[in-house]
């Protein structure tokens, strides 16, 4: 709880990171109509993929910072030594990361979907995939962020490590939105996304905490 309050206070004071992530997400998606031309059918066809890939990249942007500043200023050693469980501390940090980057992406997504000429009846499914998928990104990314601590060019290394792991989330999320657009059932894809999320929730705080203990040695 103490960690949660502190992280939220830090985000509140610094604030910039979150806004930059959203700005990046919006700009990346807006580039596509310029790149592929304003043909409505083409945009509607590629819309789900574009929005999801942009969301992945936006989530990666702030991932590196998750533990880096604590590592640099010595806070991480004290968090590892604290009597409270490191796994819970990590979970709190991941939750704040999602609240400040994942949640705003979900809010911005319908606007971008309109821009990509996606039919409005697939919006609920698009939002459902983002709601299930973005926490998974924060969870998996946290393990990568903990592993690359202390490495030079950690940001690039982190992307190389983590982006391939995001592929299943991308496939099933875009699959669900495409199915909804074709009036097919989407339950299976959403259930798999939910499964990925619960799996990541169960494993990644422990994996990240183990990596952090290594990092402070």
């Amino acid at each position: 709880m103490a960690v949660l309050r502190r992280e939220l206070a830090l985000v509140h004071r610094q604030g910039v990171d979150s806004a930059m992530v959203i700005a990046f997400f919006v700009i990346a998606v807006v580039l596509f109509p310029f790149g592929v031309g304003p043909e409505p059918n083409v945009l509607a066809r590629i819309g789900p993929g574009v929005i999801w890939v942009a969301a992945l990249l936006a989530a990666m942007l702030s991932m590196e910072r998750l533990f880096q500043s604590d590592y640099d200023d010595g806070s991480l050693e004290l968090l590892v030594l604290a009597p409270s469980a490191l796994e819970m501390t990590v979970a709190a940090k991941i939750l704040v990361h999602w609240l400040t980057t994942g949640l705003p992406l979900i809010v911005a997504a319908p606007l971008l979907a309109v821009m990509m000429n996606m039919p409005t009846d697939v919006f609920p499914v698009l939002l459902a995939t983002l709601a299930l998928g973005t926490p998974t990104l924060s969870l998996i990314g946290a393990v990568g962020a903990a592993l690359v601590l202390g490495a030079r060019r950690g940001g690039v290394l982190l992307s190389l490590l983590v982006l391939p792991l995001f592929i299943p989330v991308l496939i099933f999320a875009v699959g669900a939105v495409d199915a909804a657009a074709a009036d097919l059932p989407t339950k299976a894809q959403l259930l798999i996304l939910g499964g990925l999320l619960t799996g990541a929730m169960a494993l990644s705080p422990w994996a990240a905490a183990a990596a952090l203990r290594q990092a402070v040695e």
Binding site: A2, R5, G74, E77, L78, E217
Partner: protein, 209 residues
């Protein structure tokens, strides 16, 4: 059996033997001063004592049980002050100290007294980014008083402190020991700790080589 003891400690870092056969023992109210040249392993030994590192050989015991045996009473009993100040520039001085206190389950009411003991009470609301190096160090030391612990591990705590602040620190340590607390401190300057044992890591290295 002493409350906090280490036996036959070897430490290897990056395939280099930092020290071997180090032993220490500390009882309630005791103090241990680590001395030695740069690179003789003072910080490394303190990190071993804190449990951040594992010794290549040997045991560190707290109250009879190995500190490597997972989270026991040791985590709640130890406070470590390293080289880095662990201060968030965006938060106020009091907020920084209060966070570490609450993480260890101490009441927030301790914070004001802790700041006062190190002479930084007037800075409580100032964002930490405006602090000088010495003020940051004092903020970090204030953690010690904000959440009580039996054992303090201090890695060159007087770095960046002026003479007055160093004297304050010596008084704080004396009061801590009078209450049964223990302290291990690595230092190049004389802190004036009564009846402190000392461990010269340079001398050990000479003997080994």
């Amino acid at each position: 059996m002493p409350l906090f003891e280490g036996t036959d400690l070897d430490c290897v870092r990056g395939e280099r033997l930092v020290f071997e056969g180090v032993r220490f023992a500390l009882d309630a109210g005791g103090a241990l001063v680590l001395t030695g040249a740069n690179g003789s392993g003072k910080s490394t030994l303190l990190r071993l004592m804190a449990g951040l590192l594992r010794p290549a050989r040997g045991l560190i015991r707290w109250d009879g049980s190995d500190i490597a045996d997972g989270p026991g009473s040791f985590a709640a009993a130890v406070q470590y002050v390293g080289h880095a100040d662990a201060i968030k520039p965006a938060l106020g001085v009091a907020e920084n100290v209060a966070f570490w206190a609450s993480l260890r389950g101490a009441p927030a009411t301790n914070v004001a007294g802790a700041l006062d003991a190190f002479g930084i009470a007037h800075l409580a609301r100032l964002p930490a980014r405006y602090l000088s190096a010495g003020q940051r160090r004092r903020t970090n030391l204030a953690r010690l008083l904000a959440s009580p612990a039996r054992l303090w591990l201090l890695d060159e705590p007087t770095t960046a402190l002026d003479a007055d602040s160093a004297a304050r620190l010596a008084r704080v340590i004396a009061r801590h020991r009078a209450g049964g607390g223990m302290v291990v401190v690595s230092t190049h300057t004389e802190l004036g700790l009564d009846g402190a044992a000392s461990l010269d890591l340079s001398a050990l290295q000479m003997a080994a080589s």
